[in-house]
Amino acid sequence: MADFLINTVGLPEWLAWTITALVAAALILNVIAGGALVFIWAERKIAARIQDRLGPTRTGGRFGWLQSLADGIKLLAKEDLMPEGADGMLFRLAPYISFCASFCAFIALPFAFDFVGQRLNVGVFFVVAVLGLEVFGVILAGYASASKWSLFGSMREAAQVVSYEVPLGMCVVVPVMLAGSMDLVTIAEKQSGWLSSWYLFHDPFTFVIFWVYVTCAVASVNRAPFDLAEAESELVAGFHTEYSGLRWSFFFMAEYGSMFLVSALAAVLFLGGWNGPIPVATLLGLSEGTGDTANYFVRLIGCGNLLLKATLGVLLMMWVRWTLPRLRIDQVMTTCLKYCTPIAAAMFAGAMLWQLAFPGGVVRGISRPAGEIREGWLEGPGGLSAGRGAVGAKPTAIPSAATGTPVVPTLESSIESRDVVKVGS
């Protein structure tokens, strides 16, 4: 889009970039905010169905699909309360920190090949790190609320999230190791092909570690059975006890945003990202190199794939939430330190050894070797020539596992090729 603005419209470069960035940001923000609304509605419907109720039925028509919007408007109209003795600035700041952290991580999340806010060569690291910032908002909220229950909630959250980052990090490292890259786009791209090339099915260790990742992800976004920070039967509402109206809804949005994010991350890391179980596009002869429209079409399907997988992940979390009781704080810590971390570490070592033993994959032809790279998208070690011009370039396969050279995009190249922001183009 920036190219278009500079070359065709003739805007100055800085303005073109600013407009591009704003459009991309607005798109991501709206997609995620809209997504949060849908998920809130879905959660209500699913919870209701699980509990033998109907859930919202009236607002907006048959299925009450406008319910979350109506709730949002209600929250806007609510009185904005701040408890006496609260630290005003921090109290006001906290929801936005949580919200920003959750949404910021979406920048690096690819929705399809090239459908990414900003392709980062340290995408995995960025997403996990930024997601971890969310806890600051929660701690601030608990501290600034001047309520003992809030403080309890935030201290729990702090302990829990910080602990779970360890096994979560270990789980995330395994696909990174298999792909030889921290770039989320690369990782997902290497899982293209049939279902069997997903990292989930790469070897038994990745299969196990995926479930460890699910556990840790649920814990790190504070969902049941790890929702200790807002345990309503113990801590009233935990860290957001004193929040009302829009500020409370920001926490809510952040929670749903994070839920979607960790699910999408799981999809990218383990479930083939935007690659469907059956490579329909490839079988039909469509690929990124076929032409602009087909190319766009394929990506749109990919985007749908990823959204579907992430949504399934979110639905899984909802299902778990409405089924299981809540753990106690010491049990949460035990689960993390005594089970998740050792298992993740062992699986990490196992996956590493597996890589060593079967560098080309177990069954040739069906499961792809980990290092093999999809044709046509990568040229040179920078690996970021995926702009408009490069898409149509000749396919060149670089089986990096065979040559043994890991392909890691360099930082400079990722900064240079800014025109990966193609969401709005």
Partner: protein, 402 residues
């Protein structure tokens, strides 16, 4: 002590010292079952002391009872344990009948058993569901309420009310069952029986549930007796006592000819425990899990009793009998009677000077004694265990404060 800590050079060196915090849990708190207020003294997540404060729901019910006739006070007993109002009605009616030496008809007796046991199922369903809620799972609560709703529908059909029935009254019951009621009741039992498995899957045997309840809030039989605990709380500690079997003759006569086994662990076994999931290895007799499990067993036991009473009730062809006059004079004297209510032994005491209005009325609440033990059970537990323990006692504030 504080001075000592301040002077301790090691502590000053590290400058890490935690303070105790006093937290109010309730009276407006989601898991205090009404308006209970617990003052927690905590050190971080660890609770060192719990002090229950009561009285937020006090309505002077006993004093009101001294200004009304015995039958007029029945609606006030409804509002004591509002989750098992039928059993409250029964307790007061029997106490008055004891003083009046009144014998209800055989038909009324079986109907009373039927209604009281249905009330027990309804009460235990709430206790069970709410306990799930205390542990953070919402769905079993609504499942339990779904089933309870059917019992309430049946009660509504029988007496017109859904919560405060005043159905069982001094001298019998206010009305006989409507035609077709027994059929519906049997349908409910047939439908409910297989569903109990689901509660066992969602709660009793759920790994997280077991983790949260097994070996938590362990109460020794001695402690339970010392504090006057009763009902499932007492039986959960392995004390074999049930007023329906061990009570006074006017009460046990009601259950004459009924076959039931008290739900208590004897020699490491619950009655008919082969039908139920095995007791988890971590569970210790007297912990929250056992208290919960006793309630689950009592639901099945009550269903059995209801089935028996349906047969007996339909076999009785005689009249139901009219309840006593509203202004019936009570003979001078006093009477105390404890009955086995879902929450425990509920005792009613009345002193009469020969007029229609009792001179003194007193209710002995089981929940009151059961709650009193909280501070013993909660010493040194985690904050998350406080709702787990209080929930396992299954208290109703309306009964405690009266």
């Amino acid at each position: 002590m504080a001075q000592l800590i301040d002077d301790d050079p090691r502590i000053i060196e590290f400058d890490v010292r935690t303070d105790e915090m006093l937290v109010n849990m309730g009276p407006q708190h989601p898991s205090t079952h009404g308006v209970l207020r617990l003052v927690l003294r905590t050190d971080g997540e660890i609770v060192s002391e719990v002090e229950p404060h009561i009285g937020y729901l006090h309505r002077c019910a006993e004093k009101i009872g001294e200004n009304l006739t015995a039958r007029q006070w029945i609606p006030y007993t409804d509002r004591m344990d509002y989750l098992a109002a039928m059993n409250m009605n029964l307790g007061w009616s029997l106490a008055v009948e004891k003083l009046m030496q009144y014998q209800v008809s055989e038909r009324a007796r079986h109907l009373r058993v039927l209604i009281a046991e249905m009330g027990r199922i309804a009460s235990h369903l709430v206790g069970m569901g709410a306990y799930g809620l205390d542990l953070g799972t919402f769905s079993p609560f609504l499942y339990a309420f779904r089933e309870r709703e059917k019992i309430l529908d049946l009660f509504e059909e029988a007496c017109g009310a859904r919560l405060t029935y005043s159905y069982i009254t001094v001298g019998g019951l206010t009305a006989d069952l409507p035609p077709g009621w027994l059929r519906k009741c049997e349908d409910f039992l047939d439908q409910f029986e297989p569903i109990i498995k689901e509660y066992h899957a969602l709660l009793t045997t759920n790994a997280i549930f077991v983790k949260r309840t097994a070996n938590i809030g362990v109460m020794s039989p001695e402690l339970a007796i010392e504090y006057g605990c009763s009902g499932p709380v007492l039986r959960g500690s392995g004390v074999d006592q049930d007023m329906r079997r061990d009570g006074e003759s006017i009460y046990t006569a009601m259950y004459d000819g009924y076959a039931f086994e008290v739900a208590v662990m004897k020699n490491g076994h619950y009655p008919r425990d082969h039908q139920y999931p095995p007791v988890p290895a971590d569970a210790v007799i007297g912990d929250c899990w056992h208290r919960f499990f006793v309630r689950m067993l009592e639901v099945v036991q009550s269903m059995d009793l209801v089935r028996q009473s349906i047969d007996r009730y339909s076999a009785c062809k005689g009249p139901l009998g009219e309840p006593v006059k509203l202004t019936e004079k009570i003979p001078a004297g006093d009477a105390y009677l404890e009955t086995e209510c879902p929450k425990g032994q509920m005792g009613f005491y009345l002193v009469s000077d020969g007029s229609a209005i009792p001179w003194r009325v007193r209710a002995r609440s089981s929940s009151f004694s059961n709650l009193a033990v909280t501070h013993e059970l909660c010493r040194g537990c985690l904050i998350a265990d406080v709702p787990a323990i209080v929930g396992s006692l299954d208290i109703v504030m309306g009964e405690i404060d009266r």
